[in-house]
C-alpha cells in the first residue's frame, strides 16, 4: 500500500545510529505545538511557499482560481484557508518557490530511492528510520516498507509517539531493530494541553516495550514553557530510572530552526519568540540524572 510522506531525508544523523535515511510520514494524531516538523501535522498533500526562492513575479496568481495567492509589496502571500491544493500555481512557478509538501509513494519506490545510500549505511552502521508525523497511522505502508529493508539486511528504526494501541506495534516489531519514542510530559493534563493527546497510552506502551526485549530509546524534548523545569524533568527521569532495558535516554533541546517551515506553510507558530536551548543549558538537569542514576547519552 502506498504511503504519504513529506520527504526522505538522506544523511540523517539524529534519528538513530550511524548515517541514516529518514522517511517522514505525513499526518499525526498529536499536535505538539513546538513540533519541528509542522508539515507533518496534516495527512494531506499541501502547498508550501518558500520565501527565499520567491522573486515576487506574480505568475502564480494568474492561474490561482480561489484567490489564495496575492502579492503584497513584492512578496507573495499564501492564504491556506482559500487554497484548494490544486497545485496549478506550482507549475507556473519558475523559481521553485511554490512546492508540494507531501507525495504518495509505494514501499518499492521508497526502497529504490534509498537503496543508493546502502554503502554509507553499511560503513557507518546506519540504516533507515521511519518517522513522522506518526508513522503508525499508515501501518500497512510502514509494515511493507520495513519488511523490504529488513529483508535487504538494512538496520531499521521507527520514531513513534507511542499513542497507538500496542497490538499495532506488535504486528511490525519483528521488522524493527530499534524503537525511538518521545516521553514529553508525565502530567497527563499538561500533555493534553501541549500535544492535544493523552499520555496514558504512551506510558503503557513504554512498559510494554520494556518487556518486549526490543531495543528502544526514549527522548525528551526540552521545550520552553512546556517542560523546561526541574520539576517536569525530574518526573520524567524518575520514571525512566525504573526502566532496566532502555538502551538510551536523551534530552533533546528545543530549537527554532522550524520557524521558516511554519512561515512557509502559513501555520501559526506558538514558539516563534522562543530561542534555541543550548546543550549547555541542558546541563542544569545533570544533577537530576545523577540523582536517579540515569545516564544521558
Amino acid at each position: 500500500m502506498n504511503g504519504i510522506i513529506t520527504t526522505i531525508q538522506r544523511m540523517s544523523i539524529h534519528d538513530g545510529p550511524g548515517i541514516r535515511s529518514t522517511i517522514f510520514l505525513k499526518g499525526c494524531n498529536l499536535h505538539c505545538l513546538w513540533c519541528h516538523n509542522p508539515e507533518t501535522y496534516s495527512a494531506k498533500i499541501e502547498l508550501e511557499w518558500i520565501a527565499d526562492k520567491c522573486i515576487g513575479c506574480g505568475e502564480c496568481m494568474s492561474v490561482c482560481r480561489t484567490g489564495a495567492l496575492t502579492v503584497d509589496a513584492g512578496i507573495v502571500q499564501l492564504d491556506k484557508k482559500k487554497c484548494m491544493s490544486c497545485f496549478v500555481c506550482m507549475s507556473n512557478c519558475f523559481t521553485g518557490a511554490l512546492q508540494k509538501v507531501g507525495r504518495e509513494i509505494s514501499p518499492a519506490e521508497t526502497f529504490s530511492e534509498i537503496e543508493q545510500d546502502f554503502p554509507f549505511f553499511k560503513e557507518s552502521q546506519g540504516g533507515i528510520t521511519i518517522s513522522g508525523g506518526e508513522p503508525m497511522l499508515q501501518e500497512q505502508y510502514v509494515t511493507e516498507t520495513l519488511q523490504l529493508f529488513k529483508n535487504a539486511g538494512c538496520h531499521t528504526a521507527i520514531e513513534t509517539n507511542l499513542t497507538v494501541p500496542w497490538e499495532k506495534y506488535q504486528r511490525v516489531l519483528e521488522y524493527i531493530d530499534l524503537v525511538m519514542a518521545d516521553l514529553k510530559l508525565m502530567n497527563d493534563q499538561k500533555h493534553r494541553q501541549w500535544t492535544g493527546g493523552s499520555n496514558r497510552q504512551v506510558l503503557e506502551n513504554i512498559l510494554k516495550l520494556e518487556q518486549s526485549g526490543k531495543a528502544y530509546w526514549l527522548r525528551t524534548p526540552i521545550v520552553p514553557r512546556v517542560n523546561h523545569s526541574k520539576k517536569e524533568v525530574e518526573e520524567i527521569v524518575a520514571f525512566v530510572s525504573g526502566l532496566k532495558n532502555i538502551q538510551k535516554f536523551e534530552l533533546l533541546p528545543f530549537h527554532s530552526l522550524a520557524a521558516s517551515k511554519y512561515k512557509n506553510l502559513g501555520i501559526d507558530n506558538f514558539f516563534e519568540e522562543e530561542n534555541t536551548i543550548s546543550q549547555k543549558e541542558l546541563e542544569c538537569y545533570n544533577s537530576i540524572l545523577e540523582k536517579y542514576k540515569v545516564i544521558r547519552k
Partner: protein, 719 residues
C-alpha cells in the same frame, strides 16, 4: 628531554609560525594576490637577481640557458638562516616564471593554435615538473653520490649532446653544494654572534648537519630532513616543483635509528618535523601500502601529523585510505581535520587508484607505489613523466562550440544532435591536447630540460637523456577534462525543459542565452533551467549526461595512447584553479549559468545541486564519474561545520571510506564557518591564518584575489 627543553622547542615553533605569517603578509603587500599554493616562498630582495637571456626574444632556453641561469642564481641566492629553525634555507625566485616567454619560438606549434584557442585548451606545451622525484635515491646517494653517478654514466653515454647533458647536471649539483656551503659559513658567523646559549647550540648543530650532508648522504633524522629541504628548495627555485613522496617511509629508518641510539627523543623529533613542514607545503603522503600491500604507517606517521598540528599552516598532507590501513592513523587524521578546520589532511583512495592504474598494464606492486604527491595527482616517484595537472580541456567551451554550430546550421535542434556534435568536437579537442603533448615531448629538452628532477629520476642519468625525452621509465600523460557539470546540466536542462516537458522552445532558449538571461523574464528562464535535473542529484538527467560525457571523454583520451612510443594517455576530471579563467571564455549556458562566470569546479556538481544530503550525493556522484585509469576526479567537499564535530568523526570517516569503496580517488575537504569566511572576504586581514583548500592545494585565504575569494565563498555558501 626536560620540560624546559620541551617548552624551548615550543617557543621556537611559535616564533616560526609568527614569522611565517609575517612573511605571508609581506608577500601579499609586495606582490599582490595570487590564486595559488603558498609554496613556502618568501619575497626576494628588491633589485635582486635577474635572468640572463640566451635567445633573441629575451628569454632563455635549452640546457645551456637553464644551467647558466640556475647556477648563477644559486651562486647569488640570499642565504636564509633562522636560529629558531632546525633547518637552513628558504626559496625566493620562480626561475621558470622569470622568463619573458615560456616556449622556445624555434619550435612553433601554430598548427595546433587554432584548435587550442577554439576549445580553450591549456595545452601544457612548455610546462614543467608535475611528476615526482624519488627522494629515497637522494637520501641514499647524497649530493656526492649524485656526482659519482653522473661521473659513472658520462663514461657510458658519451655523445657530444650527452657530454653537455652530464656537464650541466654536474654544474647544477655543485651549485647547490656551494649554496649550502655559503649557508654554513653564515651559520658559523651567527654562532659567534648569538648570545642565547640554546640558540647558539642549535646553530652549531645546524652547521654540523649541513657540513655532514654537503657531499655525503644523510645519516640522522635531522640530516635527512635538511637534505630533502635543500633538494626541494633547489627544485622549487628551478621550476616550482612541489612534489613530495611517502614521507613517513622516507624518514622512518633515520627516526628509528636516532631513537634507538638515544640521539633524539620524540620531542626533538617533533621539533624537527615541525620545522620541516613549515619550510614548504610540499605534497606528502602518509600511510598506505608498500609495494607488497603492507601498511607503511609507523610511529613517525603519527609524529608528522602531530607536527602538522603544531604548526597548522598551509599544508598538503594526504592520508592514503586502503584495506589494510592503520585505523588509528585514519582516526587521528580525522581528529586534526575537524579540530583545526584548516583543510588538511586530505585523503586518497587506494582501491580505485591501484585498480585503475593496473588497467594500463602495470602490476599491483607498481600501482601501489603511485602515490599522492601533487595537487590532484598521483605519481610513481622517480619513474614516470606525466604533465600531471598541466593539460586541460575546457569542456564547457567545447559544448559552446557544438551548441553554436547546431543553432547556426538551422537543420533542426535536438539534444541527440547536440550530443553528436559535442562528441565530435571533443574528439578534436582531445586530439589537439594529445598532439600538444607529443610536441612538448619532442622539443621540451630544447626548451626547458628538467635539470633538477632528472637527478632523482630512474633513467635520465643512466641513459643520458632528459626525463621529457625518453629518460623516464614510463610516460603516463595526463589529460583532464574541466566543466563536467556545466555540460551535463546544460544537456539535462535542454532535454527536460524543451524535449520532455515542452515548457520552452529552442528559439526561446537561444534568445535568452544570447541576451545572457537579462531582465525579469530572463531571470525566470534562468532559474527554470537552473532548477532542472542536475548532475549530482542521483538518477537525474544531469547524472545520465555526466555518465555519457565521462564515457566519451575516457574513450577519446585512451584512444590517443601509443604503445609503440611508450606513451599512455590517462584521463582525469580536474580544473585546478582555472575555473575563473575558463569561465571568462564561455558565454551563457543552458544550465542557467551566466556569461563569463566561472565553470564548475573539477568533477564536482554545480553548487546547490541537491536539496539536502549534499555530502552523500556528492560522494556518490563523483564516485560514478571516475575515469578509472589511475588518475583522479577529486571530490571537493565543503563540509558543513555543523557536521564537522568530533562526535561525528565516525560518520565523516564513513563517508570518506564509502566514497573510496565506490570508486573515488581523492577527497579535498574544507570546513569553513560561513560567517568567518564572509568576514574574511570583506577584510582578509582579519583572519590572516585562515587557510582554505582551494582545490588540490591549500592557500591562505588572504592571499587569494577578490574574484577567487568570491568563488570560494559562493561554493561554501551554496553547499
Amino acid at each position: 628531554m626536560s620540560t624546559s627543553q620541551y617548552f624551548r622547542f615550543q617557543r621556537r615553533i611559535e616564533q616560526l609560525r609568527k614569522k611565517k605569517l609575517e612573511q605571508t603578509h609581506e608577500k601579499i603587500e609586495k606582490e599582490g594576490s595570487l590564486d595559488e599554493d603558498d609554496y613556502g616562498r618568501i619575497v626576494p630582495p628588491v633589485d635582486g637577481w635577474e635572468t640572463k637571456a640566451n635567445h633573441k626574444d629575451g628569454s632563455f632556453y635549452g640546457i645551456d640557458g637553464w644551467t647558466d641561469n640556475f647556477c648563477d642564481l644559486m651562486a647569488n641566492h640570499l642565504v636564509y638562516v633562522d636560529p629558531n629553525d632546525a633547518f637552513a634555507g628558504r626559496w625566493m625566485y620562480f626561475l621558470s616564471r622569470m622568463r619573458s616567454n615560456k616556449w622556445n619560438p624555434d619550435y612553433p606549434y601554430e598548427h595546433l593554435q587554432e584548435n587550442i584557442d577554439k576549445y580553450n585548451i591549456i595545452c601544457g606545451i612548455g610546462d614543467d615538473a608535475h611528476f615526482a622525484p624519488d627522494y629515497s635515491m637522494g637520501l641514499e646517494l647524497g649530493f656526492g653520490g649524485l656526482l659519482d653517478k653522473i661521473d659513472h654514466y658520462r663514461k657510458i653515454n658519451n655523445s657530444e649532446e650527452q657530454k653537455k647533458f652530464y656537464d650541466a647536471h654536474e654544474r647544477a649539483v655543485k651549485s647547490i653544494q656551494k649554496w649550502i656551503k655559503r649557508h654554513i659559513s653564515v651559520i658559523r658567523d651567527m654562532i659567534e654572534e648569538e648570545s642565547d646559549f640554546e640558540l647558539k647550540r642549535n646553530l652549531y648543530e645546524m652547521a654540523v648537519v649541513n657540513e655532514n650532508i654537503v657531499s655525503a648522504p644523510p645519516r640522522t633524522l635531522r640530516e635527512a630532513c635538511q637534505w630533502i629541504v635543500w633538494f626541494h628548495l633547489a627544485s622549487r627555485t628551478y621550476n616550482r616543483d612541489g612534489a613530495g613522496g611517502q614521507i613517513d617511509a622516507l624518514l622512518q629508518p633515520f627516526y628509528e635509528r636516532d631513537m634507538k641510539n638515544g640521539r633524539i627523543d620524540r620531542d626533538e623529533a617533533l621539533y624537527y618535523l615541525s620545522c620541516f613542514l613549515i619550510n614548504d607545503p610540499v605534497y606528502w603522503q602518509l600511510g598506505g601500502p608498500d609495494k607488497d600491500g603492507n601498511e607503511q604507517a609507523s610511529d613517525i606517521s603519527f609524529l608528522i601529523l602531530k607536527a602538522a598540528d603544531k604548526i597548522n599552516t598551509s599544508l598538503n598532507i594526504t592520508i592514503r585510505v586502503h584495506k589494510g590501513m592503520n585505523e588509528d592513523l585514519f582516526q587521528k587524521a580525522l581528529y586534526y581535520l575537524i579540530k583545526n578546520k584548516n583543510g588538511w589532511p586530505r585523503f586518497s583512495g587506494d582501491k580505485a587508484l591501484v585498480e585503475g592504474f593496473m588497467k594500463n598494464g602495470f602490476d599491483a606492486a607498481t600501482a601501489r607505489q603511485r602515490i599522492a604527491v601533487g595537487c590532484n595527482w598521483m605519481s610513481l616517484p622517480g619513474m614516470e613523466y606525466t604533465l600531471n595537472d598541466l593539460v586541460k580541456i575546457n569542456m564547457a567551451k567545447v559544448f559552446e562550440v557544438a551548441y553554436c554550430q547546431m543553432i547556426a546550421d538551422k537543420n533542426g535542434n535536438s539534444t541527440s544532435d547536440l550530443w553528436r556534435r559535442f562528441s565530435k568536437h571533443l574528439e578534436v579537442a582531445v586530439h589537439t591536447a594529445a598532439e600538444g603533448i607529443r610536441h612538448h615531448l619532442k622539443y621540451q629538452k630544447y626548451n626547458e630540460p628538467e635539470l633538477i628532477l632528472n637527478l632523482l629520476s630512474h633513467g635520465p642519468l643512466e641513459k643520458g637523456l632528459d626525463v621529457s625525452d625518453g629518460g623516464a621509465k614510463y610516460y603516463n600523460m595526463a589529460i583532464d577534462g574541466a566543466g563536467l557539470a556545466v555540460v551535463a546540466d546544460s544537456l539535462a536542462a535542454l532535454e527536460q525543459r524543451i524535449e520532455r516537458e515542452k515548457k520552452i522552445s529552442w528559439e526561446q532558449i537561444q534568445y535568452y542565452i544570447k541576451t545572457d538571461f537579462k531582465g525579469a523574464d530572463g531571470e525566470r528562464m534562468r532559474l527554470l533551467l537552473k532548477n532542472s535535473e542536475r548532475y549530482g542529484a542521483g538518477r537525474s538527467l544531469g547524472d545520465k549526461w555526466a555518465g555519457e560525457i565521462k564515457a566519451v571523454f575516457v574513450k577519446l583520451v585512451r584512444k590517443e595512447s601509443e604503445q609503440s612510443n611508450r606513451q599512455l594517455f590517462i584521463p582525469g576530471f580536474f580544473s585546478w584553479a582555472n575555473t575563473v579563467e575558463f569561465g571568462v571564455t564561455v558565454g551563457a549556458t543552458p544550465n542557467g549559468r551566466k556569461s563569463q562566470t566561472p565553470i564548475s569546479h573539477g568533477a564536482n556538481p554545480n553548487p546547490g545541486f541537491v536539496k539536502d544530503a549534499a555530502s552523500l550525493a556528492l560522494a556518490s556522484a563523483i564516485a560514478r564519474i571516475q575515469p578509472g585509469y589511475g588518475n583522479t576526479a577529486p571530490m571537493q567537499w565543503e563540509l558543513d561545520p555543523g557536521l564537522a564535530k568530533q562526535e561525528h568523526a565516525s560518520m565523516i570517516g564513513a563517508i570518506i571510506k564509502t566514497h573510496f569503496k565506490m570508486g573515488g580517488t581523492l577527497i579535498n575537504v574544507n570546513i569553513m564557518d560561513k560567517q568567518k569566511v564572509l568576514e574574511a572576504h570583506d577584510d582578509p586581514e582579519k583572519y590572516p591564518e585562515l587557510v582554505v583548500r582551494v582545490t588540490g592545494f591549500t592557500a591562505y585565504f588572504s592571499m587569494l584575489t577578490p574574484e577567487f575569494r568570491q568563488l570560494v565563498v559562493d561554493r561554501i555558501l551554496e553547499n
